[in-house]
């Protein structure tokens, strides 16, 4: 199997973090599955060659992803299945993009069909240019000021709003409550570490952040609920796309402490 992953870092002013291209070829053709776990990023996918199918274990549903789709924030893991050859382009967008996305409100756990790029886009650079043009050209602020002012820190202008009103604002802007955003962030605070599974090293509990999780059972519960497996099982699982996206995100945009 021949797997290539290319990325193009984007300037912050473009509104996108980075764009990427994934190519997978195999002889004979093979079927693969990739586990996507919840992250605090929005993603745009363009299936240039091949087909992507999404499925959720919990709801036992399966669907074909539109050729161009916008992945909203997710609270649970989902599986992407595809057959080779596959040529997939994507753009990773910051959480703050939820405040600028032109749809009236954002539902979580969905893929919205989009029309951002020319289906005959030649390469990653051309793809990135087209994404940036759409992201900037269509951006429509939902609120008078941003809800978040760095990481998950809430902007001061929200302090006079009632908890109920704030809940509504969060749901409309990100599709999730503040508590759900924080839960995702907490799990990634663990994953963003360089865990060493050498048997001579500290056990998993050595990596569990005590400020975020009361103890290891609480962490295990939160992790399993979000990812669907234990940390070690998840480490052993190969997820070509998710692993690359996470590695780039962690190294360029480390998980922020509030």
């Amino acid at each position: 199997m021949d797997i290539s992953f290319y990325k193009q870092q984007m300037d912050a002013v473009t509104g996108a973090f980075f764009c990427w291209e994934l190519l997978i070829e195999a002889e004979p053709p093979a079927a693969l599955a990739d586990l996507l776990i919840p992250e605090l990023f929005f993603d745009f996918f363009f299936v240039h060659t091949g087909e992507l199918r999404g499925s959720e274990q919990k709801s036992r549903t399966e669907w074909i992803l539109p050729r161009q789709s916008f992945k909203t924030l997710h609270t649970r893991a989902l599986t992407l299945s595809f057959a080779t050859p596959l040529r997939l382009f994507g753009a990773r967008l910051p959480l703050q993009f939820g405040e600028l996305f032109w749809a009236e409100s954002l539902a979580a756990n969905t893929f919205l069909a989009q029309d951002w790029v020319d289906p005959d886009v030649a390469d990653l650079a051309a793809f990135a240019d087209q994404v940036v043009a759409v992201v900037n050209g269509r951006a429509t602020p939902k609120n008078p000021y941003p809800l978040l002012s760095g990481g998950l820190k809430e902007s001061t202008w929200l302090s006079s709003y009632s908890p109920r009103h704030k809940r509504r604002l969060y749901k409309a802007t990100f599709g999730l409550s503040r508590q759900e955003l924080q839960r995702i962030d907490n799990v990634h605070a663990f994953l963003a570490q360089n865990c060493n599974f050498d048997s001579a090293n500290p056990r998993l509990i050595g990596y569990v952040n005590a400020e975020l999780f009361y103890d290891q059972p609480h962490f295990n519960h939160a992790f399993k609920k979000m990812v669907g497996s234990t940390p070690l099982e998840y480490f052993e699982a190969s997820s070509v796309l998710q692993d690359n996206l996470m590695a780039v995100s962690y190294n360029v945009f480390p998980v922020q402490d509030d």
């Binding site: 199997m1 021949d2 797997i3 290539s4 992953f5 290319y6 990325k7 693969l32 994953l191 963003a192 570490q193 360089n194 865990c195 060493n196 599974f197 050498d198 048997s199 001579a200 480490f235 052993e236 699982a237 190969s238 070509v240 692993d243 690359n244 996470m246 590695a247 780039v248 962690y250 190294n251």
Partner: protein, 121 residues
């Protein structure tokens, strides 16, 4: 930091990782990497989580950990390997570790472990 004969990956993320290796460990790292990829051509490299270089097929099999002056290779299902060279450490339920300190490491042993890993994967 790469040696003259470094074979780069088709994965930009892996290449970023290779480029950040410090000069002291890079030669050893590239020797080990070349040995693994020669013995397990079906392996693909990827970065898991923040910066764990792993070798795998449809599952990840070997984790590379860079330490001070050494490379540890963690065979995630190393308990299934037949260790005729006695270089695998650990007594856990699954993982076994091979520690490599210099470029004159036992390539025959590493190749054997990798080949066994490929066969059992």
């Amino acid at each position: 930091m790469e040696s003259m004969n470094t074979k780069y990956s088709k994965n930009d993320v892996v290449n970023d990782y290779l480029n950040t290796l410090n000069a002291e460990i890079a030669p050893l790292f590239f020797e080990v990497r070349a040995c693994i990829l020669a013995a397990g051509p079906s392996f693909s490299e990827s970065i898991k989580w923040k910066n764990c270089l792993v070798y795998g097929t449809t599952k990840n099999h070997i984790q590379t950990v860079v330490g001070k002056g050494k490379i540890s290779l963690i065979f995630l299902n190393g308990v299934t390997l037949e260790d005729q060279y006695g270089l695998l450490e650990g007594d856990g339920n699954k993982a076994r570790t091979m520690r490599i300190h210099s470029t004159d490491f036992n390539r025959e042993a590493l190749s054997d472990y990798v080949k066994q890993t490929v066969v059992t994967s």
